[in-house]
């Protein structure tokens, strides 16, 4: 738990401490794991509204005439098709089809913003810089941006009188640049919980004011801070990927069920050749959703057996508070990936009976 290395802190560190957060090392940052309890925080986001500090995420700014072409060649999804004010979820692949990271790309009028996982900032920057042409400029602006995610069916009510009216009618995966409580921000209708919500990017010097004003505007709506514990169960119920667990340098977006983010029809991009071949041949293993019988939880790294034969490994698992049951994602041999297949997860000396189910696990969210 303790570590000799100094952990980085987000601009909201003091706020987390004051709110009684249990702080843990996450991707080199001292982050709030939970404040009141994983289940309560999870339910707060599903039924009301909660606030996540996700300032540890990395942001790159891309400018220049070559920006669109550069990003379009660097990622699998269709950056060229993005309109100003639109955001896109995309894997970034290596030539061998392995996933360097999964990212969000925002298209603003005069630049693009790439949002990446905290644990991958250095790796992603190096990989993208290698491909950056002379007519584009790639800048790491992670330290210049604080990021809060306001998530839940009541998120819009919290912001109602504190953002431009246009922000409240933004479509899913749309954003605008405008004031939040009078502070310049990117106001984005994105999030990673399956609920309606906003992600707010602004300069860290406004962190304390924005935090305070959000909670004062949010008090009538029951706004609470939410930790990484609930963030993980919310995203898992939606079967959203967690980099390092469900996807990594050795997995391909096709195997992970992210085929919808791989636009093989567009012009060339890193990994295209391998992914075209994989699509024709079919991936050897596939990411599936698992639902457990009983309350034993399949956990990351546990082996999966079918009729006593090893067929895969669990990548993410938790008790899903909205589902009241244990759920997991796992890579299994394609032959064992059909919906309804009965499998066993090896948990020490016992076996957890599971079956493959449809993703997402949770289908009642306000956004999915």
């Amino acid at each position: 738990m303790s570590s000799a290395t100094t952990l980085k802190r987000t601009p909201f560190f003091e706020q987390h401490r004051a709110a009684g957060a249990k702080l843990v090392d996450f991707a080199g940052y001292e982050m709030p794991l939970r404040y009141r309890g994983d289940v309560e925080e999870h339910r707060r986001v599903r039924t009301g509204v909660g606030l996540f500090d996700v300032s540890h995420m990395g942001e790159f700014r891309v400018t220049g005439a070559g920006a669109v072409g550069f990003l379009d060649r660097a990622v699998t999804n269709d950056v060229a098709a993005l309109e100003v004010g639109q955001a896109l979820y995309t894997p970034i692949c290596r030539p061998d089809g392995g996933i360097v990271d999964d990212a969000l790309i925002y298209r603003a009028a005069d630049h693009h913003m790439v949002v990446v996982n905290a644990s991958n900032i250095a790796k992603d920057f190096a990989w993208l810089a290698e491909q950056c042409p002379a007519d584009a400029t790639l800048t790491d602006v992670s330290e210049d941006l604080a990021l809060l995610a306001l998530q839940g069916p009541r998120a819009a009510e919290v912001l109602r009188d504190h953002v431009p009216a246009a922000a409240l009618v933004l479509g899913y995966y749309r954003f605008m640049i405008g004031p939040v409580f009078g502070v310049d921000a990117v106001i984005s209708r994105t999030g990673y919980t399956g609920e309606d919500g906003f992600e707010l990017y602004f300069h860290p010097r406004h962190a304390a004011t924005i935090w305070e004003q959000l909670f004062s505007a949010g008090a009538p709506h029951g706004l609470e801070p939410i930790g990484l514990g609930a963030r993980d169960t919310l995203r898992l119920e939606m079967a959203y990927m967690l980099y390092g667990n469900d996807i990594d340098d050795s997995t391909s977006p096709l195997a992970a069920g992210l085929g919808w983010t791989v636009k093989l029809g567009k012009s060339d991009f890193a990994g295209r050749e391998v992914l075209v071949r994989q699509k024709q041949e079919g991936a050897a293993r596939r990411l599936v959703g698992l639902e457990a019988e009983g309350r034993r939880v399949p956990r990351h790294g546990m082996a999966i057996e079918r009729d006593g034969r090893a067929v895969g490994t669990v990548t993410s698992g938790a008790f899903g508070p909205s589902l009241e049951r244990a759920i997991a994602m796992a890579y299994v041999d394609s032959a064992s990936a059909a919906l309804g297949t009965a499998l066993e997860v090896v948990a020490g000396s016992t076996r957890i009976p599971v079956r493959t189910v449809k993703r997402p696990f949770y289908t009642q969210g306000t956004h999915r």
Binding site: M1, R34, V39, T233, R296, R299, A318, F319, P321, G348
Partner: protein, 129 residues
């Protein structure tokens, strides 16, 4: 976080209370804080013989799982059935309603080999230093 003075502790965060030749076992408030919300507790059957320091059950939280280790050897004479319907008792009342098993120890004096309140408090402090 509190560690009652009348209990003995293991380094794996179980507590043990000796009363009339019977030892009640649970997990500490430090353990529940580390685990988060407990959603399931797997306990042994009454009559099972436990070996000291060996796993006797499993506690599943939303995010994490942990084995339960027997603080001392003995036979299980009672398990806390209330945890089946309400595992959250472990979080709400780790030293009370959240107890897990009662065992009749082969050697009741063995409880004195476990960590005292002071030893356990020091251990937690060290782990946080």
């Amino acid at each position: 976080m509190s560690y009652p003075e009348d209990l003995r502790y293991t380094a794996e965060h179980e507590w043990a209370r000796l009363e009339g030749g019977v030892v009640t076992v649970g997990i500490t408030s430090y353990a529940t804080d580390q685990l988060g919300d407990v959603v399931f507790v797997e306990l042994p059957e009454v009559g099972r013989k436990l070996e000291a320091t060996k796993p006797f059950g499993v506690v599943e939280a939303v995010k994490t799982v942990s084995d339960l280790f027997a603080p001392l050897a003995g036979e299980v004479i009672e398990v806390n059935g209330a945890l089946a319907d309400n595992p959250a008792l472990v979080n709400q009342s780790p030293y009370g309603d959240g107890w897990m098993v009662r065992i009749r120890p082969a050697d009741p004096a063995g409880i004195l080999k476990l960590l005292s309140h002071d030893d356990y408090s020091r251990l937690i402090e060290e782990q946080h230093a």
